[in-house]
């Protein structure tokens, strides 16, 4: 039996859902499969929570060999990993984390763009992780529809600040997840964009008891990658096992995300939160008023020599085949 030493890194702590499942699902599954033939055995060193890299540093950490396998949070790297924003630039399509994870993962395998981007960072793409079902609007005052958000200040982060461009006079305020509670409490912002699980964790129901169910959509934010030099040296049997388990991990994680989302929604209501339904027409109006961020995305990729338009089309088609067609056709170019 040959032993293979593998350092796994993430900047998030071991209690984060995707890290916990890496330890509790991915690693045991790989060990079990390797034990079946007995040719190889992994010796894992798991270094999480800033002991080697910070959350933003995983991509570089894997690139430069500080870790062999890592969980990259792709939303931090718009410039190096532009294609990873695919789900983020297509809001209002689906809140099914499983469907998004599968579609993004297939896009990563069918088109070269995502793998090329990671290859440039000296790493090999393994799997896509989707850990949240959808962003919703959590409001401190009573709201009945998106038109009530006119003139509000809304806390957000990253790409979802751009969703606010579809609301009249709404001002986006940037903030870290941990600041949202006090931002809402003090009235610094009127609403915050969050997913239900985060709302539960940070007790948002206490300060923002109205959840406008805008169903902005599930977004991929994690990618498991391996350092390219490490990968090159791996025996084929181990490579195959890692690849197969990656797909299982993808489905396992997005399934868990959906379960947690449901439980969190119930906890929100139990804590006094009220869920306000939003009609299809209102969602459509919001989506139509937004700039076509998907088209911007596709043209960035086209400029990089990748098939941006085709990827966008293919992604939306995959979701359609899974039963989800959004309120706006982002690929139609308007």
């Amino acid at each position: 039996t040959e032993t293979i030493k593998t350092v796994v890194i993430d900047g998030y702590p071991a209690r984060a859902l995707w890290v916990k499942e890496f330890t509790g699902f991915f690693i045991p599954e790989v060990d079990k499969r390797l034990a079946a033939t007995g040719n190889y055995k992994m010796e894992w060193q798991e270094s999480y929570g800033g002991s080697i890299v910070k959350p933003k540093g995983v991509l570089e950490g894997i690139k430069f060999g500080l870790g062999d396998i890592g969980i990259v949070t792709t939303i931090f790297h718009s410039s190096k990993l532009p294609s990873q924003a695919l789900a983020a630039v297509t809001p209002f399509v689906t809140t099914d984390a499983r469907a998004v994870a599968k579609a993004i993962d297939e896009i990563a395998r069918e088109f070269p763009a995502m793998q090329n981007e990671f290859a440039k960072q000296n790493q090999v793409y393994l799997a896509t992780g989707v850990v949240l079902d959808t962003y919703q609007v959590f409001s401190s005052k009573e709201v009945a529809s998106p038109s009530d958000l006119k003139g509000s200040k809304i806390a957000g982060a990253g790409m979802n600040l751009r969703y606010l461009e579809g609301l009249e006079d709404a001002a986006g305020v940037r903030g870290g997840l941990t600041d949202f509670y006090s931002m809402l409490q003090t009235g610094l912002v009127d609403q915050a964009l969050l997913w239900p699980e985060a709302a539960k964790t940070f007790k948002i129901a206490e300060v923002a008891p109205y959840m406008l169910q805008a169903d902005l959509g599930a977004v991929n934010s994690k990618t498991v990658t391996a350092n390219a030099d490490y990968w090159k040296k791996l025996p084929d049997e181990v490579k195959t096992v890692l690849k197969d388990v990656s797909i299982l991990y993808r489905d396992h994680l997005s399934g868990l995300a959906m379960e947690r989302a449901q439980a969190s929604r119930e906890a929100y209501v139990a804590a006094g939160g009220k869920i306000v339904e939003v009609g299809e027409e209102d969602r459509k109006a919001w989506a139509m008023a937004m700039p076509n961020v998907a088209a911007e995305w596709a043209s960035t990729l086209n400029k990089n020599g990748e098939a941006g338009d085709d990827m966008l089309r293919a992604y939306l088609d995959k979701l359609k085949a899974a039963g989800y067609s959004g309120v706006r056709d982002w690929a139609s170019g308007n």
């Binding site: 798991e46 002991s51 570089e60 500080l66 509670y181 006090s182 409490q185």
Partner: protein, 435 residues
């Protein structure tokens, strides 16, 4: 070599180099570089570690609190706020034995809420209160001891550069750390005042001094005008953070601007002193953040070696109790406090102990307070005690030797240790204000 060996050898090497006088960030960086190179036999990996740590560590948004609060503290020092607070306090405590000493502690506690560093407190109060105490026949040792002892309040009562540094290493919110520092800081100030009372009662010779007759109760208008600016600044900074209106970074910037306004209205700032404050801020920021960067290379090296995992494993198997671990922790900090400065102690010790503390389910905010108080004891202990050095240098009086400052500070270091034990035994002292 096992990760534990590498960890131990590297700590010994770093301490030895620092003791020799090697710049602390250089010692941390070089030892980490060599350790990785030897451990993995890979020069590129060692270079890559530097590459990642150097650009990563400084790019932290919350680090802007370092220059902002430093700048604010320098401006309020130059605007004479420390002097004003001291005047009010000494009129309040005037009739008690050791009263000027108590006044110094009280003034330090208030001034601490608008400055981020103990060095600022030490230099301001060695100029305003030591001459007063000497004038009233206080024992010089006691006089400098009080100033040294109470200067540490500057780093415990928020804002505080040390709480910021800890919050970075342990990934805690700066705002939480600030709030957690309030009660322990006030508790320490109260303990100092009690200790001075006891010293005046039982060791009157150590205190010395005669009752002051020529002190008059300040009229309320004067008290208001002298305390007003400081109170306003505290309201903006701590109020802004506590209510959530401002992030710590924003509170620092707003506080700096308000402090500038105060200095401008009082006409106590020239263009020259303004520029000096800016220059000083830049120097301090660069020195602290470069140190943090180097410490981050070091803690990542320990991570690569697998030390945190091994320590966690050891803890699980050895069943060391909470008090055993804390005992070792405090002992280690007292030892390092004899030769390292506070920020270096935090940066070296915290990465070693976090993997032990976190799995025990203990609050990392509480642990931060214990760490900062423990490391600050070192400001008062020889041979390297920064607060004592600053007092000696600022006084520039041949009657007071460095030895006198250290001896005078010793009882106050003792009180700190006592408070430290209380803080360890009762975590709610640090955490109550957060909940």
């Amino acid at each position: 070599m096992s990760p534990i060996d590498i960890g131990l050898i590297s700590v010994v090497a770093i301490v030895a180099l620092i003791y020799l006088g090697v710049y602390i960030p250089i010692a941390l960086g070089v030892v980490s570089f060599v350790s990785i190179w030897l451990m993995r036999d890979n020069y590129d990996l060692a270079i890559n570690l530097i590459k990642i740590a150097v650009s990563d560590s400084v790019m932290e948004y919350t680090f802007a609190t370092v220059p902002l609060f430093t700048f604010m503290g320098l401006i309020v020092s130059k605007a004479g706020l420390g002097h004003d607070v001291y005047e009010v306090m000494s009129s309040g405590f005037r009739r008690v034995k050791g009263g000027i000493g108590m006044a110094t502690v009280g003034a330090n506690a208030v001034f601490a809420a608008v400055t981020g560093s103990s060095i600022a407190s030490a230099s301001v109060f060695s100029k305003v209160s030591v001459p007063q105490m000497m004038h009233y026949g206080y024992n010089p040792r006691f006089a400098v001891g009080v100033v040294a002892g109470s200067s540490v309040l500057g780093m415990i009562i928020p804002p505080s550069a040390m709480l910021i540094i800890y919050s970075f290493v342990a990934e805690q919110s700066v705002g939480d750390m600030f709030l957690a520092g309030v009660v322990p800081g006030l508790l320490l100030a109260a303990a100092y005042i009690c200790a001075i009372w006891f010293m005046g009662r039982f060791t009157p010779n150590f205190v010395g001094g005669r009752p002051s007759t020529d002190y008059e109760m300040l009229p309320w208008r004067d008290i208001l005008s002298k305390l007003g600016p400081t109170a306003g600044l505290i309201a903006v900074v701590l109020g802004g953070i506590y209510t959530g209106w401002l992030t710590p970074v924003e509170a620092g910037a707003t506080g700096a601007l308000v402090a500038l306004g105060i200095a401008f209205v009082r006409r106590s700032m020239t263009l020259r002193t303004f520029w000096e404050a800016l220059l000083e801020t830049g120097h301090i920021t660069a020195a602290i953040l470069f140190l943090i960067t180097a410490a981050s290379i070091y803690s990542r090296m320990l991570g690569l070696a697998g030390l945190p995992n091994e320590l966690g494993e050891m803890l699980r198997s050895s069943e060391a109790s909470f008090f055993q671990i804390m005992f070792i922790y405090v002992l280690l900090m007292l030892f390092l406090g004899t030769l390292l400065d506070t920020s270096s102690i935090i940066l070296i010790v915290v990465p070693l102990f976090l993997p032990l503390i976190e799995p025990m389910g203990l609050s990392l905010v509480w642990f931060g307070i214990v760490t900062v108080v423990g490391a600050e004891i070192g400001l008062l202990t020889p041979p390297l005690g920064i607060s004592c050095f600053v007092i000696k240098a600022t006084l520039n009086d041949d009657r007071i030797q460095l030895k006198d400052v250290f001896l005078g500070a010793l009882p106050f270091a003792g009180v700190m240790l006592f408070i430290q034990i209380l803080l360890i035994a009762f975590p709610s002292l640090s955490l109550a204000i957060l909940n």
